[in-house]
């Protein structure tokens, strides 16, 4: 029986904030593959192409037939708990601080036995499903969950270390001017966030939904402009210590590529908002978030970037915009490494064209704001790192993984002059 999470008490200002420590971070190269799948919430193991045996732990040759042809595949996650133990003391500071900690031996239906974290509602001798999620060191770890959902199961202490659940947490959405920002504010409020700060730049310039935004429960609209360093410094000075989840919805998008524009002005705006805006946010809000990664129930837990999937491969119709997102993607990888010591997840949510004015001439499918909002909340609940929302993004990343060059050529077929 999982006890429902209680709203956290007010923080005692006299008490030192707990410094984040991390679970063991060393893995072999092959072992690191687990994190690539955990980043997307996939349960994958190596399967031998020659004899079909599923392997665990990750290795270089099949333990049954010694074939070198091992391929990572999504495998069935069903298993049975053979044994459990409650760790009461550990030489690893991270676990020492979090005992009692329950782990178990689970035999997977696909073959191997694994050592994994156990959800409190799992029993020995009972069937379970195993998930592969990122721990606070950014590596994939396995956890067994009860086969069917149980009440408040997301509140399990071990599971919360692997997820970024917005419940009782304080969220900052950097730009409320867009429909996406407003949909996110609603979704985060519905997901149980204690407060949803929404940034609003140039409030002297009205926009649709400006009033409705202020009516959403627990929303507080604050002045914030990612192109203005002082604006961010000032806001971070006020609320920086209260941001547990930051969602960057600031975006500047215009059509056009390298040659067909007549000047670099929109390109400068795209870089100013999409790339430098991210960097300014990182400098103003990052340090406090990183320091609060282990700060109780409402610890800092996630930084979410909403990016164009064309960051991976350029779409000439929005070529300059795509390039600015490529810059932001690279920077987000840097930010992810910088945030990791604090155990704060940097999550990139990639979408194809969104349903808005600038993408109006593009054919469907496009991502509507409510779908984006739902996707972000689900990804936070699963503690993911790389999220591909919508059909276009899912399709594109599959093609990119198959061959980046073929994708480049496919995407960049333009009309003859």
């Amino acid at each position: 029986m999982t006890l429902p999470l209680q709203p956290p008490p007010k923080k005692d200002p006299q008490k030192r904030t707990r410094v984040p420590v991390r679970p063991p971070a060393q893995r072999s190269r092959t072992g690191t593959y687990l994190c690539a799948f955990a980043a997307e919430g996939r349960f994958a193991l190596q399967v031998c192409e020659a004899c079909g045996a599923t392997q665990y732990p990750p290795r270089e040759a099949c333990a049954v037939c010694l074939s070198m042809a091992l391929t990572w595949r999504d495998v069935p996650a069903a298993g049975m708990v053979l044994a459990d133990t409650i760790v009461r003391t550990s030489t690893v500071v991270y676990f020492r601080e979090r005992t009692p900690w329950r782990i178990g031996t689970v035999q997977l239906s696909c073959g191997p036995s694994v050592m994994c974290h156990l959800h409190g509602d799992c029993e020995v001798g009972q069937p379970v499903r195993v998930i592969n999620r990122l721990d606070k060191s950014g590596h994939g770890v396995l956890m067994a969950l009860p086969q069917t959902d149980t009440a408040h199961m997301e509140d399990d202490e071990l599971l919360r270390e692997l997820t970024c659940d917005p419940k009782f947490r304080r969220v900052l959405i950097t730009n409320g001017r867009s429909a996406a920002g407003q949909a996110l504010a609603q979704a985060l409020s519905d997901a149980g966030a204690a407060i949803v700060f929404v940034g609003e730049a140039e409030s002297w310039r009205p926009y649709p939904g400006q009033d409705a935004l202020r009516q959403i429960p627990n929303v507080e609209v604050l002045p914030m402009d990612v192109t203005d360093t002082d604006s961010l410094t000032e806001l971070a000075g006020e609320i920086g210590g209260k941001v547990d989840i930051l969602i960057n919805t600031a975006r500047f998008v215009r059509p056009g590529g390298a040659m067909d524009r007549e000047d670099i002005i929109f390109a400068r705006d795209e870089m100013e908002v999409n790339y430098l805006g991210l960097m300014r946010l990182a400098q103003s809000f990052g340090p406090a978030m990183r320091a609060r990664g282990a700060d109780g129930v409402n610890s800092a837990t996630a930084w979410v970037n909403i990016l164009s999937v064309y960051a991976f491969s350029n779409l000439p119709e929005f070529g300059s915009f795509a390039a600015s997102n490529a810059a932001a993607l690279s920077l987000s990888q840097c930010l992810r490494a910088e945030m990791r010591p604090g155990g704060v997840r940097v999550m990139n949510v990639f979408t194809g064209p969104t349903e808005d004015d600038w993408h109006q001439p593009l054919p469907p499918p496009k991502v509507v704001p409510s779908a984006l909002a739902r996707g972000v909340v689900a990804a936070l609940r699963d503690g993911l790192e790389d999220v591909y929302l919508g059909d276009v993004a899912k399709d594109l990343i599959e093609r990119w993984r198959a061959s980046p060059k073929v994708l480049e050529r496919e995407l960049t077929e333009v009309e003859d002059m």
């Binding site: 007549e262 000047d263 670099i264 002005i265 400068r268």
Partner: protein, 276 residues
């Protein structure tokens, strides 16, 4: 017809007289400002430090598809690009003084008398020419004791230099004229309004070797005085008697700005001034 009882009739007469004098050429206006263009040199600091942005212009539209009936640009630069004003808040010694930023300087201080000390001969012979106490005293002997509240400009004709010769960078830094610490202290004693030069800084190019380093910035701003740099046409000003107009942009807590510096001088037309 006066608007109300307290408007000064004498003041109105002076203003009308000034407008008349400008119309007749009895008062001329000299432009002491370099054109702001991307090629104008800016001060260079050691590479570890933040640098002064160059002046850049980006065309937004030019009566074209981007804007059919109009033309305009976005501009960007540093507060200290081109002909520019230094406020006391620019230097650590002036950081805590009242009204020390460009938006808080009392506006009436931005129109003031100006004294011009000619160091052009010295500067022609020596790139590192120092304005000294002797130079100041000699000027005062010849003209008048420098009054409180006036600008003092150091004329060096440096503004006539072009290209690399202007910053004059060598292996050990820039070499350009400026005041030495004693001269600066004397001018502070005189309670001048501010100090102006034709070079890229109020301090000499090698001014960081003085004690204290960069004495013009340190002492002037520490005493609430202002600076002007990259002036041109200083050779057109009389040694004394002109009025300098130097209002910087009203930037919130700004440390300076590029500006239009101009001087009103007695007309230089062929007709001698009418006897007053």
């Amino acid at each position: 017809m006066s608007l109300d009882n307290v408007t000064s009739a004498a003041g109105q007469a002076s203003l009308s007289g000034l407008m008349m004098a400008m119309a007749t050429g009895d008062v001329e206006v000299v432009d002491l400002t370099h054109t702001l263009d991307p090629d104008f040199p800016v001060i260079i600091l050691p590479p570890e430090f933040g640098q002064c942005a160059r002046f850049r212009m980006e065309e937004i539209s030019a009566y074209d598809g981007r804007g059919p009936a109009w033309k305009w640009h976005n501009i960007s630069c540093c507060e200290h690009t081109g002909t520019h004003f230094d406020a006391p808040i620019h230097w650590v010694s002036g950081r805590d003084l009242p009204n020390n930023a460009v938006d808080t300087i009392p506006v009436e201080r931005l129109i003031a008398p100006v004294c011009v000390i000619d160091c052009s001969a010295g500067a022609a012979a020596n790139d590192d020419y120092e304005l000294s106490v002797d130079d100041i005293l000699a000027w005062e002997l010849k003209h008048e004791r420098i009054p409180s509240g006036c600008w003092v400009l150091m004329r060096t004709d440096w503004s006539k230099r072009r290209g690399a010769e202007y910053l004059n960078m060598r292996d050990d830094g820039a070499h350009s004229p400026g005041p030495n610490p004693a001269a600066v202290r004397l001018l502070v004693e005189r309670d001048i309004l501010g100090f102006g030069t034709e070079t890229v800084g109020t301090d000499a190019g090698q001014g960081f070797h003085f004690a204290p380093p960069n004495p013009a910035h340190f002492y002037f701003h520490g005493a609430g005085k202002y600076g002007l740099q990259c002036l041109s046409n200083v050779d057109q000003l009389p040694p004394t008697g002109a009025v300098l107009i130097a209002p910087p942009l009203k930037i919130k807590q700004g440390t300076g700005s590029p500006l239009r510096v101009m001087a009103m001088i007695p007309g230089r037309c062929a007709t001698p001034a009418a006897a007053s």
